[in-house]
């Protein structure tokens, strides 16, 4: 099965600055990929390249089998896009805005009221967009991106300005779309938010792809090892005496001992703990720590 979106060695330069360099990315039908990076990491540039709004200086892009810059109308009709800081004509109402975009996609306007309800804007649909808060504009942006049940959704910072309840309903909508076979790419500053919501994460830094894999593998590749913590008076005494086999354990304040170890070694270590061991704790790196490690360049690209 050919990928919905495929980037091969894509590079984009603005003047002397490379906003994206040698990026490979594949997005299959029904998959959801998170694009993570700080401001200026190249996330929006990549999304604009996938939409054909920017032409890459190097490499090749294929969206549903065609070059998006060719402006193929049939392909565009199957794409949904939510730009970062989405903006609309302030003099139009919410429903007028959605109707305008639905007409361009040749969609039945009768579904639009339901779509606005789905993103929590039913009550404000007759208000002018100029009076909308940032979160409301974001929800309207999401509604327009969902027009026509797209086969590929490209969402640039989609949850900015959404409260936790709306964020949950947003991810529910994405899950529905994935079940229908849509390929979804969403960019975010926060890796932690994407846990459980995406199949794969691509970490970008200064225009380069630093990592590409599921969250479990990113933890492994980040270079940050898990830590095993345990409270045991017997081990504590032996560590204080420098006795083997516990010499690698570090004492912590409060009578705890900690060992940095590989994930694969944890079961064995747990089995060999002394009988008086209690308060056993496995501390795995948080996603924010993993992300920070990749940004520092400590991680290895998967």
């Amino acid at each position: 099965m050919s990928p919905t979106i495929e980037l091969s060695a894509v590079g984009k330069r603005f003047g002397s600055h490379w906003a994206a360099q040698q990026v490979d990315l594949v997005l299959h039908q029904g998959s959801c990929v998170g694009l993570v990076g700080h401001n200026g990491a190249g996330k929006s540039t990549l999304i604009k390249i996938m939409l054909g709004l920017l032409r890459p200086d190097t490499g090749q892009v294929r969206v549903l089998g065609v070059d998006p810059a060719s402006g193929h109308a049939a392909v565009r009709a199957t794409l949904g896009y939510l730009p970062e800081n989405v903006a609309f004509q302030s003099s139009m109402t919410g429903i007028e805005t959605l109707n305008f975009y639905a007409r361009l996609k040749r969609q039945d306007l009768r579904n639009n009221a339901e779509l606005l309800e789905r993103v929590g804007l039913a009550d404000a649909s007759r208000n002018r967009v100029g009076t909308f808060s940032k979160g409301m504009r974001q929800r309207l942006g999401l509604a327009q991106a969902l027009l026509g049940r797209p086969r590929a959704l490209l969402l640039d910072e989609p949850t900015t300005g959404l409260d936790p309840a709306l964020r949950q309903s947003f991810y529910e909508i994405l899950r529905d779309l994935r079940r229908d076979g849509a390929a979804i790419l969403l960019s975010s500053h926060a890796l932690a938010e994407l846990e459980g919501e995406v199949d794969r994460v691509v970490v970008m830094n200064h225009g380069r792809k630093m990592a590409d894999g599921n969250i479990h593998s990113l933890r492994s590749y980040s270079g940050i090892w898990p830590r095993l913590r345990v409270r045991t008076s017997r081990m504590l005494r032996m560590v204080a005496n420098g006795s083997n086999p516990w010499s690698d354990w570090q004492p912590l304040p409060g009578g705890m001992l900690e060992l940095t170890c590989e994930e694969a070694d944890i079961p064995h270590l747990l089995r060999t703990l002394p009988a008086d061991a209690r308060d056993v704790e496995i501390v795995r790196p948080s996603l924010d720590e993993v992300y920070a490690a990749f940004l520092r360049g400590e991680g290895t690209a998967a």
């Binding site: 604009k48 109308a73 565009r76 794409l79 730009p83 903006a87 003099s91 007409r103």
Partner: protein
């Protein structure tokens, strides 16, 4: 064509909603009525057609006002949408860039046409009720309104070309003012200066024709002031009308070209632009 119509309808609705149409219509109506009744006041004594005098006055008003209004409508049509971030979203939809340009153009032309027809039409109607003029003068009035919209369309297209080329709205606004100053004020003064300085030597009729067609406001002025004998005699251009060997069709054709060339240029520049 469907996508173009959708975009044109949106532009027109925006124009109606943000009071652009109302403001321009009122402005043109107030000026036109003032010129029709104050400017045509002496006609009762000299027995000339008040409508003919009004055409002369409105032609001058149009040359100053319509290009300015058209440039105000158009200078940020593309760069403004790119700045605000609405263009990227629009272009992600199944719509070609030429359709965006053409849709905006038709919408803005409709705004200008409504304002001009209503604004000038009110003055024409009032003069008509007061026994305005003969059939030929009415035809000239209708042509004035039509060519005023065409002149507006020229400057909308020029505004788009600027808007598609520059990187920010401020620059677009500055260049738009420059275009207005050049075509409305500087060009004719420079041409006059050239004619006086050279005593007309080396500038024969055909060169003058081309020089006049090279400025859309001159083509408009000549079309309306020298094209109708009854009006030419009132405008003081009957002598010029005899000298200029341009047919009205050539002048209208020049105006059409002044629309099409910048519009095609806009499409070409905008198609290559990365949003």
């Amino acid at each position: 064509m469907r996508q173009t119509t959708i975009i044109a309808a949106k532009e027109l609705r925006d124009g109606l909603r943000n009071r652009w149409v109302l403001a321009i219509t009122l402005l043109l109506a107030v000026f036109a009525l003032t010129l029709a009744f104050l400017g045509a006041a002496p006609t009762g004594v000299v027995k000339v057609s008040p409508l003919g005098v009004t055409i002369v006055s409105l032609s001058s008003l149009t040359v100053f006002l319509l290009p300015l209004i058209a440039l105000l409508l158009s200078y940020d049509a593309i760069v403004g949408e790119i700045d605000r971030g609405t263009m990227g979203l629009l272009l992600a939809y199944p719509v070609a860039r030429w359709q965006v340009v053409l849709g905006k153009f038709l919408g803005h032309c409709a705004i200008l046409a409504i304002a001009t027809v209503v604004g000038y039409g009110v003055a024409g109607l009032m003069l008509g009720l007061n026994g305005g003029g003969d059939a030929e003068t009415w035809r000239a009035f209708a042509m004035l309104v039509a060519t005023a919209v065409l002149l507006g369309a020229v400057f909308i297209a020029l505004g788009y070309l600027v808007s598609a080329t520059v990187r920010d709205c401020g620059t677009a606004g500055g260049i738009a003012i420059g275009i207005w100053l050049f075509f409305v004020l500087i060009y004719d003064m420079a041409l006059l200066g050239l004619l006086v300085a050279t005593q007309g030597q080396g500038i024969d009729g055909s060169v003058l024709n081309w020089l006049l067609l090279a400025n859309p406001t001159d083509a408009f002025r000549l079309f309306n002031l020298a094209g109708t004998p009854g009006v030419a005699s009132l405008s003081g251009l009957s002598g010029l009308a005899a000298q200029v060997q341009l047919r009205p069709a050539a002048m209208a054709g020049a105006l059409m070209l002044w629309v099409l060339v910048p519009l095609a240029g806009t499409v070409a520049v905008f198609s290559r632009r990365q949003v």
